[in-house]
Amino acid sequence: QQQVKQSPQSLIVQKGGISIINCAYENTAFDYFPWYQQFPGKGPALLIAIRPDVSEKKEGRFTISFNKSAKQFSLHIMDSQPGDSATYFCAASGNNFNKFYFGSGTKLNVKP
């Protein structure tokens, strides 16, 4: 059973547009929700993360929106740039960080 469900599988956005990636989870024990960015041939790197006590977190052009009651969270990339073209993974963990569950990934292509 997939603990974190991610959509869409792929996304094409024009330069300057907004990219939106969605994730849903079932386990209410999850306490930490990061987003990772992965370029081809590289390992994933943390982009931004949120705890369930806040509904939104913004860092530069990247924003996480969190809906605790719906058990959903999303990543918004404002003013998308070609350099943002990568695969994005949402993830979830309990507060001890022993195990992270990753979504299946969204391949983002930002067209110039």
Partner: protein
């Protein structure tokens, strides 16, 4: 280097052979994780070490997979009697624990790509 180092970066082996994959974490990181990433998929948890001990090995798919971290630093993932279905990128990550001020951020290596022919 300052990052997580994984060797080999690529490994091609024949079905039935034994394989070892090595991970050298960031100095001072007591938490170490192994994940497996199949093509087009997200990382799948295999095992988590807290220091020298495996705190959670619930993701190891079967008894052909084993991992060690004898001195609490370098870890080796060992796969016996490899099968074609084991072909994937094996990712290692390290982090600070919560008690050491960790925030949950995983620092990943670039992975070891295993191909079983």
């Amino acid at each position: 280097g300052a990052g997580v180092s994984q060797t080999p970066s690529n490994k091609v082996t024949e079905k039935g052979k034994y394989v070892e994959l090595r991970c050298d974490p960031i100095s001072g990181h007591t938490a170490l994780y192994w994940y497996r990433q199949s093509l087009g998929q997200g990382p799948e948890f295999l095992i988590y070490f807290q220091g020298t001990g495996a705190a959670d090995d619930s993701g190891l798919p079967n008894d052909r997979f084993f991992a060690v971290r004898p001195e609490g630093s370098v870890s080796t993932l060992k796969i016996q009697r490899t099968e074609r279905g084991d072909s994937a990128v094996y990712l290692c990550a390290s982090s600070l624990t919560v008690t050491s001020g960790g925030t949950g951020e995983l620092f990943f290596g670039e992975g070891s790509r295993l191909t079983v022919l």
